[in-house]
């Protein structure tokens, strides 16, 4: 019940000069409701492509996405997306941005306003509702992006490196917020990241992908996300197991990167 099924997805991009790039090959995955999955991998492993396919922005060459048993045919409000940055509507104030989804669905204004108030409180922007987007800092903007996504009450939240452009301190705060929101709302979340630490902290399940062709390399089940809900994130990072996992995955990704470089040298 309430599951997201990624069924043997392949994606090929035709190159303008002839030939093609196999961005994804035979990727299958099943997510239950309320699961938090982080996806990690070297650049070019197709993780953003995968997310865009789940969101419905791209149609896969082969395979299909099923959400609650229904086939995904395009973007829709049941799959919310949080982008890295610059996806907010700067011509609207914070409230209008957050209420965008409900407004488009013509939900009653009073109900929407109450919801926006609640979300502003949750993401810690209680007094910023009437500010314009460009008056906020980068971290605050990402809080708005999270709230905007939640306002639509999606089944699945897709996050494409949502904290990638933030400074280290803000990033750590936001990681705590993501965990808090996950636990409080019980949403299914797929989070794409470049940071191994972030993937470990924010992944109940962690997917390491490999490039050329993009595929699932390894999957982990991790305890840190659950720990992080009740504990200080820095305490979680100090755990011995956290350190071991980090080293293990870093080595794995480094090996992959080196392999790519090696292959390129062979060609040269």
């Amino acid at each position: 019940m309430g599951s997201l099924k990624i069924d043997r997805i392949s994606m090929r991009f035709d190159l303008p000069g002839g030939g093609a790039v196999q961005a994804l090959k035979d990727v299958s995955l099943e997510l239950n409701k309320g699961e938090l999955l982080s996806v990690l991998g070297p650049s070019g492993c197709g993780k953003t492509t995968l997310l865009n396919i789940v969101a419905g922005f791209l149609a896969p060459t082969e395979g299909e996405i099923l959400l609650n048993g229904k086939r995904v045919k395009g973007p829709g409000p049941e799959r919310g997306m949080v982008f890295q940055q610059g996806a907010l509507f700067e011509w609207m104030n914070v409230r209008k941005n957050i209420s965008f989804g409900p407004d488009m669905a013509h939900k009653p204004a009073v109900e929407t306003a109450r919801k926006v108030d609640e979300l502003l409180k949750i993401v810690g922007l209680k007094d910023f509702g009437d500010k314009m987007i460009y008056e906020l800092s980068g971290g605050m903007q990402q809080r708005v992006a999270l709230a905007r996504c939640l306002a639509n009450d999606p089944d699945v939240i897709l996050m494409d490196e949502p904290l990638g452009a933030l400074d280290a301190l803000t990033r750590e705060k936001m990681q705590g917020l993501v965990l808090k929101l996950w636990k409080e709302t019980g949403k299914t979340i797929i989070l794409i990241t470049h940071s191994v630490e972030e993937a470990l902290l924010l992944g109940e399940r962690l997917l390491v992908m490999a490039p050329r062709p993009g595929r699932i390399h390894r999957e982990y089940n991790l305890p840190f996300a659950d720990l992080g809900v009740s504990q200080d994130l820095r305490m979680v990072k100090k755990e011995r197991e956290f350190g071991e996992r980090r080293e293990e995955i870093l080595t794995m990704i480094w090996d992959m990167e080196e392999e790519i470089m090696g292959r390129q040298e062979d060609v040269a």
Binding site: G76, M81, A87, E90, F100
Partner: protein
């Protein structure tokens, strides 16, 4: 030439004075001098207010100084005005010589003055009188009243004791005298360095003319009619260009077919200056109102089309994706994302279009019009009413600048998110 040199001197002097003054200030708090580290950085260069003010004051001071304006205390030497005289020596047919005086009265142009008195003289020579307008020259014929002046052999041989012959020039107290080949004296009082009002009127003359025309109108229409009709043409042409151009630009930004169909037309028409269309517009639509509106419509159309197209194409794909994944329909994405996202580009285009339209309307009115700012100055220039021409140019500049300022205010007010996406 002299004006240029004085202007250059004023520039150098003001700049030097500012640097010296600035240096004494920096000696006190020294940190601003570190700004030179960013030499060449565009963002550190801003207009120096002091320089702007001195520049404007210098321009008006020069204008006033060279036109004898009353609002400026210092003037360059003006033309000689007043009474003067010179003595000539004549030799008659029998070889006798005699002296007489020529009394000159140099008067401002347009003033009616009496001839100076001239009754003396010795021998056969009689005094002469003449009046000459400032900046002009006059002919003096001493032989007309001298005894025996019509006889062969009579000739003037010297001015104030300096000998003169035909084609030669001699100075007298307040100017030059050239003898023509027939022996007539061409008197040219000193002109000084000031400009004659028919070439360059003084600033206050322009202001008085402005007041006069604002009160009485010019060529059957009031000043406000002239300026208003030019503005009205611009606004109407721009409006028509926008209501066609913006939807066209949107269509070109959103549909391959529209883009393909209109791209050759737009790309061809864009580099054609609107002024080059004036002859064709006159042939097709005549010199009336209709033709001008169509010309301005064409001037604004391409600019607005391209601005709208750029605004649509410039939308970040992540914003469109975000809207779709929040459940917006295609139509809602257009209305709530693409249109507001394109507004800054459209405003930039509108500012350019208004500027181009204003320039085009003045040019079109220069060619042919019953009323309008351009018609006013070209008509005045035919009668050498330089003050009206200068007044018109200043008004055209002020209005053009005003339009730009208004557009900028509207921009800040309506699209405050510009450049902050």
């Amino acid at each position: 030439m002299i004006v240029g040199l004085i202007y250059l001197t004023a520039f150098v002097a003001a700049f030097g004075a500012y640097i010296v003054w600035n240096r004494t200030r920096e000696a006190r708090h020294d940190f601003t001098s570190l700004k030179t580290v960013t030499f060449g950085d565009e963002s550190t260069v801003s207009a120096n207010r002091f320089a702007s003010i001195v520049s404007i004051v210098t321009l008006f001071a020069l204008w006033g100084a060279f036109t004898g304006s009353k609002i400026v205390p210092i003037h360059v030497p003006g033309p000689f005005i007043g009474d003067t005289s010179f003595e000539y020596t004549a030799t008659n047919a029998t070889g006798q010589t005699a002296n007489a005086t020529v009394y000159l009265r140099v008067h401002p142009i347009g003033e009616d003055v009496a001839l100076p008195e001239a009754t003396g003289g010795n021998g056969f020579a009689r005094d002469d009188a003449a009046k000459i307008g400032a900046w002009r020259s006059g002919l003096v014929k001493p032989e007309t009243n001298d005894e025996g002046g019509k006889e062969d052999g009579y000739r003037v041989t010297a001015i104030d004791g300096n000998s003169i012959a035909p084609e030669q020039t001699v100075r007298f107290a307040h100017g030059d005298i050239t003898m023509t080949s027939k022996g007539t004296l061409s008197v040219k009082p000193d002109r000084g360095l000031q400009m004659e009002p028919i070439w360059l009127p003084s600033p206050e003359a322009v202001v008085y003319r402005l007041i006069e025309i604002a009160r009485d109108g010019y060529k059957n229409f009031t000043l406000w009619d002239h300026l208003g009709s030019s503005l009205w043409r611009v606004v109407l042409g721009f409006f028509l260009g926008s209501i066609v151009g913006i939807p066209l630009g949107y269509a070109m930004g959103l549909s391959n077919w529209f883009r393909g169909w209109f791209d050759p037309i737009v790309e061809f028409m864009r580099p054609v200056p609107p002024l080059a269309l004036i002859p064709l517009v006159i042939i097709w639509f005549g010199i009336g109102e209709e033709g001008k509106i169509i010309l301005l419509f064409l001037a604004a159309l391409w600019i607005m089309t391209i601005a709208a197209r750029a605004g649509v194409s410039g939308v970040k794909i992540s914003k469109v994706h975000a809207a779709y994944s929040l459940g917006a329909s295609k139509w809602q994405v257009l209305k709530n994302v693409i249109v507001p996202n394109s507004l800054p580009e459209i405003f930039t285009g509108a500012r350019v279009a208004m500027g181009v339209c204003w320039g085009t309307v003045v040019a079109a009115e220069l060619v042919a019009a019953e009323k309008g700012a351009g018609m006013m100055i070209v008509n005045a220039s035919k009668f050498q009413l330089t003050d009206i021409v200068i007044m018109g140019i200043i008004l055209i500049g002020v209005i053009g600048y005003g339009i730009d300022i208004l557009m900028r205010i509207a921009e800040n007010w309506l699209v405050p998110w510009k450049g902050r996406g």
